[in-house]
């Protein structure tokens, strides 16, 4: 009865939050029922409950064929490289931006580095096409001009790992630098003043003050990203690689696989199964990460 009394007393507040609750119920909770597709051999006539129930067959196939192992490995490895390399570079940029003299230079370089954050991934696709296209890309053209042997990027898997990592770092550099820069600015000036009086040079000040003070932020950001390590950057991979099957071996991640199951192969059951695996495994990871953070520093725990 207390619920009803509360509803009556705060009618307006409930009405104000109702659209949001309806939205999340409709677009987040109702689709959760749809994970049932993962246990069916989906047919378009049958729909949700008319399709044949196959139990764990889809999962058995995904695990047994080794497909899921490859997808998971790719997703995790890419994310680990993204997270570690990205954070280290952002940290270095922030340290330089905090310490260098030359206001105009700093402002300009910070603006330029933040620019990629604002553009769409389709434009990243345009860059890749322009730079690497086998027929007329800038880099193949440059190779020919320099008299080097021809190299068709779309026939080799090796370079794409680096291209994907490059564009991911490229897009996130400015954003992360701002976060770290804010953390550096929060360090009190008195530490630096005292160190200067004691004769510490700039490298010693960074090594002994800035870095140790940033370690908690660094670890926290890394841990938080670890929770999402199974979520792929669909936009990034799809715009760079697209439907280029030649390159899937080293560039296919769970999200691109799920997308293809839906849009190309129409394998609803298999795609949903891979998505459910990703969601569940991801949930366990977040809970694990949160547990670790809670043990070390309760203030930073997610929940």
């Amino acid at each position: 009865m207390s619920l009803l009394r509360e509803l009556a007393r705060n009618k307006v507040l409930f009405l104000m939050i109702a659209p949001a609750l309806l939205f999340f119920t409709l677009f987040s909770y109702i689709p959760m029922v749809g994970v049932y597709y993962a246990f069916t051999n989906y047919s378009f006539e049958g729909g949700l409950f008319g399709s044949r129930f196959v139990g764990f067959d889809n999962f058995e196939f995904l695990f047994g064929s080794g497909q899921l192992a490859t997808l998971t490995r790719n997703t995790i490895l890419y994310n680990v490289v993204f997270i570690v390399l990205g954070n280290v570079l952002q940290l270095i940029c922030a340290v330089f931006l905090a310490e260098l003299p030359g206001k105009i230079f700093k402002k300009a370089s910070q603006s330029v580095m933040f620019l990629p954050f604002f553009i769409s991934f389709v434009l990243v696709g345009a860059f890749v096409l322009n730079l690497f296209s086998s027929e007329n890309g800038v880099i193949p053209t440059l190779l020919t001009q320099l008299g080097l042997p021809e190299y068709d990027f779309y026939m080799h898997t090796a370079p794409w790992k680096y291209i994907i990592v490059f564009f991911h770092i490229w897009k996130g550099l400015g954003y992360g630098t701002v976060i770290y820069l804010a953390a550096i600015m929060a360090i009190g000036d008195e530490y630096y003043e005292a160190a200067k009086i004691d004769g510490a040079n700039i490298f010693q000040r960074i090594r002994r003050i800035t870095i140790p003070m940033l370690v908690p932020t660094f670890i926290l950001l890394i841990l938080l990203s670890l929770g999402g390590i199974l979520k792929g950057q669909f936009d990034l991979f799809y715009q760079i690689i697209g439907q280029n099957g030649m390159l899937f071996e080293s560039t296919d991640i769970i999200d691109t696989y799920v997308y293809r199951s839906l849009a190309v192969n129409f394998d609803i059951g298999m795609g949903t199964a891979a998505g459910l695996f990703q969601s569940l495994f991801g949930l366990i990871l977040v809970l694990g990460v949160n547990y670790v953070i809670r043990r070390t520093n309760e203030d930073y725990a997610l929940f």
């Binding site: 749809g34 330029v112 553009i119 490229w170 999200d255």
Partner: protein, 295 residues
Amino acid sequence: MKIKTEKSTLVFNAAGYTFLTILSLLCLLPFLVIIIGSLTSENEIIAEGFKLIPDRFSFDAYRAMFTNPIQIYRAYEVTILVTVVGTALGLFLTSMAGYVLSRKDFKFRNGLSFYIYFTTLFSGGLIPWYILIVNYLNLKDNYMVLVIPGLLSAWNLILMKNFMKSIPDSIVESAKIDGAGDFAIYLKLILPLSTPGLATIGLFMALAYWNDWFTANLFITSEHKFPLQFLLYKILASASVLKTNIAGNLSPDFKPPTETLKMATAVVVTGPIILLYPFLQRYFVKGLTIGAVKG
């Protein structure tokens, strides 16, 4: 007395300038490459490929594009409409819900916050979401599908809630004593006090709508409903061709621009973001640093 700069500082500065200059150039390079590509003559690209410094500049691609710009105009219309409606409506719903969740006297705020937060932890995945929208909501190829699924995001809502938590309770209390209703308090007091938060989250939303190509890719099939980024995607993938009126009056060695047209489309589609960039960046940096002070 002049303070002598230490040698180590000089080394540090030199390293810093070099490092940041290289990274900045790498960040700019792709943009330059696209702009230069759009200004190269088609013949040169076909003969030799894109170059960093072309032998001959040419505005053919832009000229061709503006012989029949209806497709681009149309896509601009769709994108602007979707961005404006989506951001306005989304901001209204987000701020309203955020306000309710920030009210400390609202009994269910923790439970409902978790109800919303949980959607970031677990989801049914892409496919059930897609089937819901297509089979049950029948929104395929409907303009509304470009707006509705992006209206609210749990992250934005949480951010908004934290912004609003910083508004002192006493303001709400005194307004209540004066007999103001909850909605009036939200509209007349809370909204004006939350403008920095609204601006930041509004920019996040507008950027997401403007740059969205994925929703159209999944749900939009009629060409006249394509938003900008999806049109660009189709043109880049050579799945669609930008229509131009340059077929007739040609000398034999004239090639209609196709490769350069792709690059010119990329430039025209991205233009507004670059023009608004100084303004966007300022608000983002401000918002990020406020948001970073965790609530």
